[in-house]
Symmetry: C2
Subunit: 306 residues, 2 copies
């Protein structure tokens, strides 16, 4: 199924509380969500991450069962990265209750030789200096997507800008795009971000969907309307995974493929937030995605003719 | 051009300050924006409103020059309704500096006999009791759209709910939809609103566009991406005017027409906010609308096939 995808990022055990329930020490992490989402579309998916001795073998077995290559996942002495958070009525606002970096604090992404020719690369949200370190180990990637977060924008801006000059696309949310550029208007912010290097800027807007900005290309995808968001954790990562997985499956990044990947990303994210942790992604099938993709296109359809 | 449209609402002189400049005592008011927008598509447009003795004749001449029927516009003794407001960096947030209702305080919409058979009716944001009074004077309308605002939701809720039970569609923004229903999720809020009577709920989301909810119909239109919003005043009213004008021009409210009207509304609103007051609407042509409509459809296009 297409071209190899390399995904680098966190693997975690999450504890989450939302208005619809709670979950303790469940499978989480950006690389986890993204790789499972991508595995619906493309193969092989290669993961670089680190877990502790306490990371349940069943989670690794699950990932392997999805055809995800775990050669690059280090099992370090110590505890797995743990994140604990809560959401109120607004699914866009996570309140972090506790972060224990544990083995993730010393994360040093080293790519197995078998990973070094990976044409599609997703650098999930990690220290921008580490993101560049990954790029140093890859031979001629065709598409490099970097995610980031406010922490790096505020505390490692220069480092982040250096990384951005080396990637094809950056994914961030609207608040982060504004913070990075000092521009409130997202179209202006996207232009400023693209001037830093990335050919494309993908700006996520939570329930309002996402926008992709490139030269002569602007695409807007609505959020798929859900009546209930059970757990928003991993929405952005499953979006990114579905997005890059779709592109890798096609083996192309033309306008047609980008539009489709954006819609698939929104659809996969919408499924993900229907259940805690990766529960919904575990049972999700291509047929489910295709059906909701059809519905989303109907929702976005603005009629024909003048 | 299609079926007659009746528009009832405020006519005003506005003073507005934005990061891009200011304007004093310029033409404004919900009925004004909506009727000029609607006049691009349909005819006749019939307005019911009230102005004071100070209302410049040139404004009435301008409206008449657009084929707008002013038989229902009363020229009352006193001063015209004046609104003064300011916008900061966020174009979605108007700060009202001063409101002088003047002759609008005693607005008592009386329909000329020639207006009573108007199949398309837009009740702009006025006291919901007055909105019902208008409905009492109309014979068998085919589509009645009511706009409203937080003030009525908070202070005249029972009255508003009574009005909603008699209209085909309500237009409100996301904050108002949440306030009216107590539901944060817009899909749930739209269902609750439709349970109050309206067949359709149209929820505006500022820069994020708008969503139309009906039975077996959900449509999302993105906001047209602008790099500069010069004056957000009248965005919602020009949206509503473009929307109902498009439906009246088609003489139908089928799914196809509703999708198209939603896109046209977003396009007209995007033009309107490019200049102060109605300056952009004055020179706007159908060809401009058609071109941007084409662009908006490209932006919303999510590719084909699985």
């Amino acid at each position: 199924m297409g071209e190899p995808v390399l995904i680098v990022g966190s693997m975690a055990l999450d504890s989450v509380k939302t208005p619809h329930g709670q979950a303790r020490d469940v499978l989480g992490g950006a690389a986890t969500y993204a790789s499972v989402a991508a595995s619906l579309f493309a193969s092989p998916i290669r993961v670089v991450g680190v877990v502790g001795r306490d990371f349940p073998q069943e989670h690794l077995d699950f990932l392997a069962s999805r055809g995800i290559d775990l050669t690059g996942v280090e099992k370090a002495n110590g505890q797995t990265f743990r994140w604990s958070g809560a959401y109120g009525d607004d699914p866009n606002e996570a309140k972090t209750l506790d972060t224990q970096l544990n083995v993730f604090a010393d994360f040093n992404p080293v790519l197995p030789e078998s990973y070094r020719e990976s044409p599609y690369v997703l650098l999930a949200n990690i220290d921008p200096a580490l993101q560049r370190k990954v790029l140093d180990q890859i031979r001629a990637p065709r598409l490099v997507i970097a995610d980031t977060m406010n922490y790096w924008i505020e505390n490692r801006r220069d480092d982040l800008v250096k990384t951005l000059s080396r990637v094809s696309m950056v994914i961030l949310n609207d608040a982060e795009a504004r913070s990075l550029t000092g521009e409130r208007n997202l179209t202006v912010a996207a232009r400023a971000i693209r001037a830093m290097g990335p050919r494309w800027a993908l700006i996520k807007k939570g329930e309002h969907g996402a926008m992709l900005f490139g030269e002569d290309l602007t695409v807007s995808v609505p959020g798929f309307p859900l009546e209930r968001v059970k757990d928003p954790t991993g929405a952005g990562d499953s979006f990114a995974g579905g997005f890059i997985g779709t592109l890798a499956a096609e083996g192309k990044t033309g306008e047609r493929e980008l539009r489709r990947a954006l819609a698939v990303g929104a659809v996969v994210a919408s499924f993900n937030i229907e259940e805690f942790s990766l529960e919904r992604l575990r049972t999700l099938r291509r047929g489910d995605v295709d059906q909701r993709l059809h519905e989303l296109r109907r929702i976005a359809h603005l009629g024909e003719g003048n």
